[in-house]
């Protein structure tokens, strides 16, 4: 029995627990499941994985074999961090009484965990889609406003899924039916399709809109849960399949830069955080593109850090939303008076994302940037330096939207006059734990070393070198100075309520407009076609009627004389035939 458990993908525990939750009416049991399942799953990962790659749980479906369990150093990181996020989210959502959220959250987490621990592309596809449908429930739990966003979310994720499937099938069939998920590369058959599929899920530029569309509309706990898994699963897939693919460097660099500009004008702070998420994903995509051991370590480490600090930021915004009912910067301000703990946690999160020394991103993001720097140094290619510059710019940009804007407009700035309760205890515990982790992961004496020991490659990298600390601080202080300066001179823009257009305009407005227009044209066309065809049918019918009806030409009671002539004519014809035949 125990042996059997060692061949079971730990993600299944989540899924079982999720199904159980769907049937359980007792809230407290569900909540316990929500917290305990990730712990148990993490324990099982620890039991299963012992420094050696584990491949197990092979199921055959028809001609196809599904490898449902494959743990190696790369996937292990994702597995643990997903479990960790599961615990945090479980605690964070403790106050909520919603069976659907609980069960779909568990299934969603399970899908993500399963997704990283499977060994073939088909299983990946299955959990890819399972993650999509379970997570869309969380979006829809956001209520009426999430109705259409959820459908768009689902459509986009289904698109991502079928593209993945299509790519996998092309890839697998060209490999003689081998669907093992290893390094794919963009030039493999089906490679581009799968890259696009993963790109959709991790928010490549122009494919990113579902994040900013759906996340801010999900329920409070929903957004927090969502932020941890979907995009990270996609990152895992990229890291597994496309490490060292050059184009990802540029895509990633672009991804770090463009959200900065949207975040600065966006009013909805959860959407700001969504852009920020996109921007952090950019660093990781870039790291995957570089693909050196250092970069890959940076990616894995940054995933861990990002799950925690981005979760923390979403949690703090969620707490604010729970208490105030809004997450719009224009409506908030001065909340540190009412929610001091939340303020502190949010600041820790902000500091982490901005990569202050002693906070988590400092030890992880720097690996990616260093890797970019080294590769630029090695190649001396101008494009690599441009990438590095973009990453640096984005680092300063992060400081703007997540490091300053989110905490500042929520907790400080102009007092909105809102006096609310502090967040519920469970949220505070979750945020506190996350904050601790943010600090722990960057703790110079044992913290980051522990984090590094989990990473897929053995690389000696020291984040706390003098120059690194100093120049990072230089950058951040300069950014803060700029903020204060611009604020002082009144150049810093006020927050205004607005809908900010992004690329999704093309399908939500332009595409929809075209569809409506075509539908309208179709209606007119079909009306016309049916009219023309009716006329045609009627005309033909009439013509036939004129010929064949009792009053028609063919049935007129022919005078016998005519019939006789006809008979004679017939004779002539017959004789002609005979004549031809005989001669």
């Amino acid at each position: 029995m125990a042996d059997l458990l060692l061949h079971l993908n730990p993600g299944f525990y989540f899924i079982f627990a999720g199904i159980l939750c769907a049937l359980l009416p007792v809230n407290i049991v569900r909540k316990s499941l929500l917290v305990l399942t990730p712990v148990f799953a993490a324990f099982m990962i620890f039991q299963i994985y012992g420094a050696q790659e584990v491949i197990s749980g092979v199921i055959s479906v028809g001609p196809q074999e599904l490898i449902t369990l494959r743990i190696d150093r790369l996937s292990m990181v994702w597995g643990y961090i997903f479990c960790l996020a599961g615990v945090l989210n479980g605690i964070y959502g403790f106050h909520e009484r919603c069976r659907i959220t609980d069960s779909s959250a568990l299934i969603y987490m399970g899908a993500a965990v399963c997704g990283v621990f499977v060994g073939d592309l088909l299983s990946l596809f299955i959990f890819w889609e399972l993650a999509a449908i379970s997570s869309v429930m969380l979006v829809w739990m956001g209520g009426e406003g999430a109705y259409k966003a959820g459908i768009r979310y689902l459509a986009i994720h289904v698109l991502s899924g079928v593209l993945l499937l299509a790519g996998a099938v092309i890839y697998g069939q060209s490999n003689g039916g081998d669907y093992t998920f290893g390094n794919i590369g963009i030039d493999a058959p089906g490679g581009k399709l799968m890259l696009i599929a993963m790109g959709i899920k991790c928010g490549f530029p122009l494919l990113h809109n579902w994040i900013q569309d759906a996340y801010p509309k999900a329920s409070i706990t929903g957004t927090v849960i969502l932020s941890a898994f979907t995009t990270k699963l996609a990152l895992y897939a990229l890291a597994r399949g496309y490490a060292g693919t050059d184009i990802l460097i540029y895509i990633g660099a672009l991804m770090t830069v463009f959200p900065v500009f949207f975040a600065v004008i966006e009013n909805d702070l959860r959407r700001v955080l969504s852009y920020s998420l996109n921007n952090q994903l950019g660093f990781m995509v870039c790291g995957i593109g570089i693909g050196t051991p250092l970069a890959m370590n940076g990616v894995a480490g940054h995933v861990v850090a990002d799950v925690v600090f981005k979760g923390l930021l979403f949690m703090s915004m969620g707490a604010v939303m729970l208490r105030t009912g809004t997450a719009k910067a224009s409506e908030l301000g001065g909340l540190f008076r009412s929610m001091p703990y939340t303020t502190v946690f949010c600041l820790i999160g902000a500091g982490s994302i901005a990569a202050f020394p002693l906070l988590s991103a400092f030890v992880t993001k720097s690996m990616i940037i260093s890797a970019a720097l080294y590769s630029a140094e090695n190649s001396h290619a101008i494009k690599d330096w441009i990438v590095l510059a973009m990453l640096l710019f984005a680092s300063a940009g992060v400081m703007e939207h997540s490091g300053i804007k989110v905490p500042y407009f929520t907790f400080f700035a102009h007092d909105s006059g809102r006096r609310v309760e502090e967040a519920p205890w469970n949220m505070l515990v979750a945020m506190g734990l996350a904050s601790l982790l943010c600090i722990f992961f960057a703790f110079p004496w044992g913290g980051y070393q522990f984090l590094y020991s989990l990473l897929p490659y053995d690389v000696k990298y020291h984040p706390y070198t003098g120059d690194h600390v100093v120049f990072q601080l230089q950058l951040l202080f300069a950014a803060m100075l700029a903020f204060a300066f611009l604020k002082r001179i009144g150049a810093y823009p006020h927050e205004r309520r607005a809908e900010i257009l992004d690329f999704d305009w093309t399908y939500r407005k332009l595409g929809l407009g075209i569809v409506h227009w075509m539908s309208e044209m179709w209606t007119r066309l079909s009306v016309n076609i049916s009219r023309v065809s009716m006329r045609l049918i009627k005309g033909t019918g009439q013509k036939f009627y004129h010929i064949f009806s009792p009053a028609g030409t063919m049935s007129q009671s022919t005078p016998s004389g005519f019939a006789a002539v006809l008979t004679a004519g017939m004779l002539v014809v017959t004789l002609i035939f005979i004549y031809i035949g005989a001669s």
């Binding site: 600065v264 008076r337 710019f393 300063a396 502090e422 070198t465 950014a479 700029a482 823009p493």
Partner: protein, 113 residues
């Protein structure tokens, strides 16, 4: 009360009075930090990064960068940070003009208030 009313009529609350009021409403843990809301504090906040910046620039001489980018010079990271940040902020206005629409632009209702 009358005193308070007359002050309100002046339409400007002094920090002390405001904090006194806030002290009642605020979370107990926040009480010691209410000074953060003062205008003077917010106005003088600028010195914190300025001092930090100066210190780190000086320290930058002590710890020279191990790997230099082609654009690196003395205090270059500070310049990058400042410029990048300012660029982002200054881009906000034109971008807003370009991209901002009414909140119910897509006709799906505004999300969460």
């Amino acid at each position: 009360m009358a005193k308070q009313k007359s002050k309100m009529a002046k339409a400007k609350l002094s920090d002390e009075a405001r904090e006194a009021k806030e002290r009642v409403e605020a979370h107990p843990m926040a009480v010691p930090f209410l000074w953060l809301g003062r205008k003077s504090v917010q106005d003088n906040f600028i010195f914190l990064p300025l001092i930090g910046l100066i210190i780190t620039i000086v320290l930058g001489l002590v710890f020279p960068p191990e790997h230099e980018a082609p654009w690196d010079f003395f205090a270059s990271w500070a310049v990058i940070g400042f410029c990048a940040y300012s660029a982002v902020v200054f881009s906000a206005e034109p971008l807003f003009k370009l991209l901002a629409r009414d909140e119910n632009y897509y006709g799906e209702g505004s999300d969460n208030g």
